[in-house]
Amino acid sequence: MKSCVIVFPGSNCDRDIATALEKMQFKNKMVWHKETALPKSDLIVIPGGFSYGDYLRSGAIAGKSIILDEVIKAANSGCLILGICNGFQILTETGLLSGTLLRNKKLKFINKDVNIKVMNNKTKFSSNYRLNQVLKINIAHNEGNFFTNEKHREQLKKEDLIAFKYCDEKGDISERVNPNGAMDNIAGIYNSKKNILGMMPHPERMIDEMISNTDGINLFKSLLN
């Protein structure tokens, strides 16, 4: 499977996701934001980090870059797109995903391992997980507080577009285990065609028992199917 990772000035999880993709046997290429064409890819990843230093608003400037036009075209023709953390923020800025990511409720950067629940295992990103499986994944962000309008919120529920929700070890979803104030504990969402996934947690950080755990592996394995 061919993948590419878009690198913006200020991206800082680009190497991490590339390492993960290569470890999972993807044929991966890095794409500098000034390029005007994408290599042939089945999966495009927009990595985490602080593209353009989060100036103006996180993801706002990257969302307007030239290469994003190509990403949008690819997305519309069905290519799989994964946006992690800042990548999720960028996807909402481009309109490929609806909703937005506000400052964390407590106004502080949060880095820790949190539990998330697989809400839909019938997508190309999640088929290797069990439905309602609880994963322990690292989060690291300032703006992860997902918010959207009522119409979109309803659509997310109705069309089963919520990918992950923050939960406790047992899978119970409550405000107590909501790390950033996200609406309905939402940690990741799909577009209506389910070829685009935006998520705040970092699956690329959870593929190695030595460093953390392997709860992120099945996301990549699902993609390989």
């Binding site: 000035p9 200020g10 800082n12 999880c13 190497r15 991490d16 390492t19 993960a20 000034k34 985490g48 980090g49 602080f50 353009y52 230093g53 989060d54 100036y55 502080k108 950067f109 949060i110 880095n111 820790k112 690292n138 690291a140 300032n142 970092h202 690329e204 950080r205 190695d208 028992e209 030595m210 460093i211 953390s212």
Partner: protein, 726 residues
Amino acid sequence: MKITEKIIEKHGLKKEEYENIKKLLNRNPNLLELGIFSAMWNEHCSYKSSKIHLKKLPTKGKQVIQGPGENAGVIDIGDDDAIVFKIESHNHPSYIEPYQGASTGVGGILRDVFTMGARPIALLNSIHFGSPSHPKTKSLLNGVVSGIGGYGNCIGIPTVAGETKFNETYNENILVNAMAVGHAKKNKIFYSKAKGLNKSVVYVGSKTGRDGIHGASMASAEFDENSEEKKPTVQVGDPFTEKLLLEACLELMKDDSIISIQDMGAAGLTSSSVEMASKGSLGIELELDKVPCREENMTPYEMMLSESQERMLMILEDGKEKHAKQIFEKWDLDFVIIGKTTNTKKLTLKYKNKIEGEIPIDALAANAPIYDRKWSKKKNEKNTIDFKKLKKIKIEDALIKILSSPNHSNKSWITDQYDQMVMCDTAQRSGSDAAIIRIHNKDKAIAVSVDSSANYCKSHPLTGGKQIVCENWRNLITVGAKPLAITNCLNFGNPENEDVMGEFAECLEGIKKACEFLNYPIVSGNVSFYNGTNKKNIFPTPVIGGVGLIKKIFKPIGHSLKKDKSFLILIGKTFGHLGQSCFLQENYSITEGKPPEVNLTNEKNNGEAVLKLINENLIDSAHDVSNGGLLVALSEMTISSNLGVKIEKPKKLNNTIEYFFGEDQGRYILEIGERNFKKVEKILKTGNIFYEKIGVTQQEFFEVEGELKIAKNDLFKINNQWYNNY
């Protein structure tokens, strides 16, 4: 402009120093030249008060590739891998403007590391605040922590370890020390020494603004009530630009374009150009019209003394300019040839086709003043505490008091604000004795830790100096690493005060002794004097940052208990030394007394034995016993795990308080499964290591037979409330 006495004083120069400048120049300096002398001769850049003492420190060893004197120290970790690291203070700016002060402290130390060709892989910090009840402490803590996080998180380098302490001695002068660790190829280390004539001197990075002018001089004076007015001299950090600068530099460093490179840190363009020329015994000529400026009408004086961040100076090989420029332009950074190397051995500054200043390089560097300041030995503290007269206290109450105190409370409120996982090589995050960082794509790792013990150093500087080195050494051992070398950040008061200078000299003597004995050389460091306000000096606070090697990485054992019914053994003798202990401070507010003795032979033997046990995979968890003593260490092991402990009553010491809270050195707690116990005993007996079995692990409860029994979850709550309620 006539140089008046007032101008000289404003530049922080003494009268004799000014006379000396005149002699070296054979004339009066102009204002630009005076500014440059003041920047190079201040304490921060010249080390004039500390040099004599620093020279005595052990800096060599088989593992050392580059000792002090460069941007950072470099050590060999086998194969073609090298580790580059250094610690630096940013105390004064952080007190005035905590967010920017701390953040630029991180930025500065990162540049020191990547200037040498290393990709930074870890950040650490040691931060000291005043009493929590002091009106400024809360906002300083908030600002410093978000500043450290803000920079490291954005640039994408994990902040993996550190220490946070509170003591009223820092009420008016907090300490913010940042350490950076990088990985480089052994044969691709870049140095600051200039070579060759007529080579291009290139300015890269951010533009120069008026921020930070005379920052280094500010760090070389005591604070007074007008210190707030110095806000404009605090630099503003931009981690985004630094990320670009980091990637651009590392990209250019892949080939041989760079002859020498130096970051513009304290005293900016001045110190970077002088340093390069001085090391290469060359001259440098700069055309200041070409310096990229952020503000209009900047004068040569302002350009030379600005401490704007995220800038570098490089000397390039002939013909490589175009190639280098392409790389920097790709990263949207300024790249301007602003001068050339010369054979004049002078710093020549041209502006609008006129020479605005010309100073022999030697006058600024080699001939900078060196002082052998008077110092007096610390008088021996008389141990006057009569324990019998103290109000009796229950062990349980004493323990709770310590665990819920600001200094011992769980610090996840702080560490959760730092990205510890970015780069995906952090095997052991903060909260343990040391962090473990895997070398990318290899199966080896390094361990890192920072430590200080200001109370010990205040009471007995010589012992305190030894103790911090040993504690740092122990912390690396505990995670299974072989300690290799250290960097030190020496935070002291006013060196013109004999007692302060005495604390400095004696702490250094202690550090030296321990480093020599443990073959643990010092490869880089920083001195920060004048920490204090209105003649009140801070406690002597040397901070040690250590790096150790794990040759073959294994799943970290950490200090959290692993299995039910394991044996717990204590390595090292317990004498029950309570002087300078947390027990006395937290429960009785007693700060007198001597710190515990440091027996270097025991430290070495015990440490090496523990390392052997861990490397032979016989240990399930390990923790060093330090501040707070045995019971606090055991609590920490319990709190971080899902298990409890059951500890026997001490067999030898009758006074249980002394046994459980004494801070005797050279001790470790090890968790050992029953099947390994005999093997462990054999190794310890063969090595003649003192150990005792103190208890076992159990479910649910933290228990000391006949003394206390606390539910594990309650202990956790006690330890986790302070920060959230502050």
